[in-house]
Symmetry: C2
Subunit: 194 residues, 2 copies
DNA sequence: ATTTACCTACCTACTAGTAGGAAGAAGACA
DNA sequence: TGTCTTCTTCCTACTAGTAGGTAGGTAAAT
């Protein structure tokens, strides 16, 4: 029987945290090797090439995200609270330094020199996140709980950019609270206060 | 007499474009060497270490930015137009691919593994950009040309995050127009329409 | 005479990736 | 049940190429 976290999963976990810290070119097989006490060659056994490793990693990240966002839509009552829960998720990730940056946001900044397979998956993540946000916003607008100035798709893009920019500012200033200070008003703006 | 663009300047120009494309770990002395037809060792003559090269580069970038923002404040009439001019500057940079990402935003994403001297300069850029935006917003609020929901400093942080997030989205989707679509409404929101 | 800007040639450390083998687990089968 | 075979996982040892950086020299400008 396999241990609850297989070696492949451990490799992906470490690689993910290294990418979040320094991007695609910011880590090596040797770094992973040192972190989990396994030889470099053994990592190549699980993931023959770096491009493949990151590709699988992003795939896993997208699945986790997709599942998380789906359960968020089902578990939380109102659209406004769904947005807030999404924001709070990232806030705690940044505060406890567990995942202080979105993997795909990190990789998107290096878009131009990413292996093509990875680049298209990163773009895919941006698409599905924008879709999720637009869907939440539209539902909110239909219910009258949210008031949109623009089309849901446009508002979704604005909100997504705000979240990514807030991550960057929080990192640049070394201040996790800055994330909330930036994103919260953007969400509040959308809540109808009549 | 030195040529209008000295070798050092050429090195910095190339290095800057390489950083914008792939970050600190995304370029090497060999890349610069190949791009301007000079030997690696000659680059070390101008910039002994990579950390020093990037440090000088960021310093130059900050000076250029500071000068640009200053002349923007002096040359453009109203605060709202100053914000729009700032946005348009980045829009054309992204569209013609001359500087399709802020150097400091790029480096900020790698903050954790940057040489300390570089990291503090990047943070310095974020500070001074936030200060400039806050100052423009405050002037606008005092003149009554802008209507702020929050303190100028908070609104400045929100606007800055929006700009950086919009750069990222434009890159991720490969669509320069997305930048404007995200930032323009954020500026429009601040314009008093009574 | 010294400095500047460049060169060739080199160094050590690290990069992703490969070859081939050892040890054990998992089935298949008598 | 034992044992033969195969697959998985990991290893040592290696490759070619690249990373940042250095030593020491040449030629021209100051």
């Amino acid at each position: 029987m396999k241990s609850i976290t297989s070696t492949s999963e451990k490799i992906l976990d470490i690689a993910q945290s290294l990418i979040v810290a320094g991007g695609y070119n910011g880590f090596s097989y040797a770094d992973i090797s040192a972190a989990i006490g396994i030889r470099k060659a053994s990592i190549h056994h699980h993931f023959p090439t770096k491009a493949e490793l990151v590709s699988v990693l992003v795939d896993r990240y997208r699945q986790q995200t997709e599942a998380g966002l789906k359960s968020l839509r089902e578990g939380v009552s109102s659209p406004a609270e769904q947005l807030q829960a999404y924001m709070n998720y990232w806030h705690s990730c940044i505060r406890d330094a567990s995942l202080p940056f979105c993997v795909c946001a990190m990789l998107a900044s290096e878009m131009q020199m990413l292996p093509e397979e990875v680049a298209s998956q990163v773009q895919g993540h941006f698409h599905s996140l924008a879709r999720w946000l637009a869907s939440v916003l539209q539902t909110g607008a239909e219910n009258g709980h949210l008031r949109l100035d623009k089309q849901p798709e446009e508002e979704a893009q604005m909100l997504m950019a705000s979240v990514h920019g807030a991550m960057l500012s929080a990192r640049a200033f070394g201040d996790p609270e800055l994330f909330i200070a930036i994103v919260a008003p953007q969400i509040a703006r959308l809540q109808a206060q009549d």
